[in-house]
């Protein structure tokens, strides 16, 4: 599959990828390297993994990271209760018998490397997990294997396509960065965003779509606490479509009410009163 193929197939999966991103995915697939995506919240980092798994027709295995995530939650855990029952039932003679795969609870990382077909492994918000977890991750990313002291080393049956996302909660280690391909995704420009809106909401009138994108792009330049992302833009478009509006300047009151889709804090809502919205709509038209 060439780079252009991948890009058009992502478009079929309703994901509009920039050239940089499509190239990153293409290289990640051909070189078998993990891909690290960074960028502000709401630019479609997680969506990339979903689109890729749809494109490749494989499973998407997702690991959501959080502070305090440990190996037991991410890689594997022994099913202690079952082991205990088995030991009691068998008369507690052979301890080794309970350390087999039957008693292993596979968590996302182990599951990802024991699939028959290469899945897409999404490690979401990796910077929210702590450094200790990064160390576990390195072994899996570099060697495609997991060491379980009681069982030995489990090698990957199929190399997963790994996508990591981060948005700057803390600085990632150089070791992790070095092993990954890197792409920074920013908010899309006007044309790209129009293309996204056209793919996701094809029945929207072109004039309204242009207005929506214009207003959202203008809002991103305002000083807001939470800048609206693509997901918010799509929500807003769906809301306006649902209300049956054809022009943003028609019914300013209702448009103002639908801003709940875009502005997620009280301060931001206060920052965009009716007059400001009217000005933004006027300029976007």
């Amino acid at each position: 599959m060439t780079f252009e193929d991948l890009k058009s197939r992502l478009a079929e999966a309703a994901y509009v990828a920039s050239d940089d991103l499509a190239m990153a995915l293409h290289l990640a697939l051909t070189l078998g390297r993990p891909l690290l995506l960074e960028g502000p919240a709401g630019v479609g980092k997680t969506e990339v993994a979903k689109a890729l798994s749809a494109t490749l027709g494989t499973r998407l295995i997702r690991l959501q990271c959080y502070e305090g995530l440990d190996a037991g939650q991410a890689i594997y855990e022994w099913n202690y209760q079952r082991q205990l029952l088995a030991l009691r039932a068998s008369g507690a003679e052979s301890e080794g018998a309970v350390f087999t795969e039957d008693y292993l609870l596979k968590r996302p990382l182990l599951e990802a490397i024991t699939q028959e077909r290469s899945p897409v492994l999404l490690i979401d918000e990796v910077d929210r997990a702590d450094e200790a977890f990064e160390a576990f991750l390195l072994e899996i990313l570099a060697e495609n294997q997991v060491s379980i002291p009681e069982l030995g080393t489990i090698r990957a049956t199929a190399t997963p396509h790994v996508i990591l996302t981060a948005n700057g909660t803390r600085e990632l280690s150089d070791a992790l960065r070095r092993r990954c391909l890197y792409t920074h995704i920013d908010y899309p420009d006007r044309e790209a965003e129009l293309a996204i809106l056209a793919t996701r909401a094809p029945d929207l009138a072109p004039r309204l779509a242009r207005q929506i994108v214009g207003v959202v792009q203008a809002l991103r330049r305002e000083e807001l606490e939470k800048t609206p992302g693509i997901a918010e833009m799509l929500d807003w478009a769906a809301a306006l479509g649902g209300l049956g509006l054809n022009d943003l300047s028609d019914d300013a009151g209702r448009v103002q009410a639908t801003l709940v889709c875009l502005l997620k804090t009280a301060a931001d809502r206060d920052a965009i009163p009716r007059e400001v919205l009217d000005r933004l709509v006027g300029r976007a038209a």
Partner: protein, 396 residues
């Protein structure tokens, strides 16, 4: 930016790609031979004759973080499109520093005059001084200026060994006072490193003596994140030595510490300060502190922190320490607004000023805007003063 002349005699694509990786290395990128191999391999996976594809592929492969992501295109043009000539033509006003194939680190030893030779593309490196640098007005009064002082001041002058050690020791004690509210006793936790035997046994009674559920315990210690903003503008020049060493000590004492210097710009200096070699750290700092000793716009710099670095540096368990005298070219209202936003994002904000109360007439209006918006305003001009603050930090 350092430009490498395109190797006209390079024999094949592999050598040219290798030359590009070397060019990036020369510009301070840390790339190994493995990266070169991967870059050459990547060229086979794409249509390497398509310039856009080759650029995107190399970018994705070699860039490790955000800063370099933004800087890659310029370096790419400089190498593949011959020493950045195209860029120069499209933007003649942009100041391009070129030539000197010596690694960045050596530069302090050679001095800046040993730089360009046979350089027909960019301007010579001797950056013109804009403004006179010191934050002094024509009438002899100190005023905060917006002028960027581009002369590089060697920070090693400002740091001598003993003083550094004393300041660092004081900083370490302070950092400990801030962080050390760890609890040694384990508490019940859903996942922890120790078993809660007492609870397991008690619960096993319900299952006929079988310990079916394992309860765990853990030390509930989350270190406090410390962020230091050190003002290095002209008005702070007298205290820069002490405060820089102090900042270095704070950064060295705890992993979760971030340090920034600011004058007209804001610079993240954590990696440079973590350098174990003190002299080399000072060398790296002085490279970063272009414009060190110029004017200040504290409000804009605080805004830059909250906008750009907030995710990394702030949070509800963070303590922000601002080392500044409050000389600011922005109006007090702007400073107040910036601080307000900062204190919403950060757990605690402490303003540490070196100015004695008597010298405050000049900054009174700014200090009045600062005081109600931070958790504490403290005073310290010398290392002894800083060390004496330990008790106060412990209460924060």
């Amino acid at each position: 930016m350092r430009a490498t002349r395109f190797p006209a005699r390079a024999s094949g694509p592999a050598e040219r790609v290798a030359g590009f990786v070397a060019h990036l290395r020369l510009n301070g990128w840390r790339l190994g031979p493995g990266d070169t191999a991967a870059a050459i391999q990547a060229m086979t996976a794409i249509d390497a004759t398509d310039r856009d594809q080759a650029r995107a592929a190399l970018k994705v492969l070699l860039v490790p973080d955000r800063d370099r992501w933004d800087g890659f295109d310029a370096l790419y043009d400089a190498y593949w499109l011959n020493a950045g000539r195209t860029r120069e033509r499209t933007a003649p006003a942009a100041h391009v520093r070129a030539q000197a194939t010596r690694p960045t680190l050596w530069r302090p030893h050679f001095g800046t005059e040993a730089e360009p030779e046979g350089d027909d593309v960019g301007e010579p490196d001797g950056t013109p001084d804009i403004g006179d640098g010191a934050a002094e007005g024509s009438d002899g009064r100190m005023i905060a200026t917006r002028t960027e002082n581009l002369s590089k001041r060697d920070l090693r002058e400002l740091m001598d060994e003993d003083e550094i050690r004393a300041a660092e020791a004081a900083a370490r004690r302070l950092a400990r006072a801030i962080r050390e509210r760890r609890i040694r006793r384990r508490r019940a936790a859903r996942r922890g490193d120790g078993l809660d035997m007492r609870r397991i046994l008690r619960a096993s009674l319900a299952t006929g003596g079988e310990p079916m559920r394992l309860y765990r315990r853990q030390r509930p210690d989350r270190p406090r994140k410390l962020t230091v903003l050190c003002d290095v503008s002209g008005s702070m020049a007298l205290h820069a030595r002490v405060f820089l060493a102090f900042t270095k000590g704070l950064v060295g004492a705890a992993d979760a510490t971030e340090a920034f210097l600011f004058h007209t710009r804001l610079m993240r200096v954590t990696p440079a300060l973590r350098d174990h070699d003190t002299l080399r750290a000072a060398g790296r700092l002085s490279l970063m502190a272009e414009g060190f000793g110029g004017g200040t716009d504290i409000a804009a710099n605080i805004a830059r922190l909250t906008d750009g670095h907030a995710g990394r540096a702030l949070g509800d368990r963070s303590l922000v320490l601002i080392l500044s005298d409050g000389y600011c070219s922005a109006p007090p209202a702007a400073l107040g607004a910036a601080l307000e936003r900062l204190s919403r994002r950060a757990g605690r904000v402490v303003w540490l000023t070196p100015a004695p109360p008597a010298a405050e007439a000049l900054t009174a209006r700014h200090m009045a805007a600062i005081a109600p918006r931070v958790d504490r305003v403290m005073r310290a001009a010398t290392i002894a003063d800083l060390a004496a603050l330990e008790a106060e930090f412990a209460r924060l």
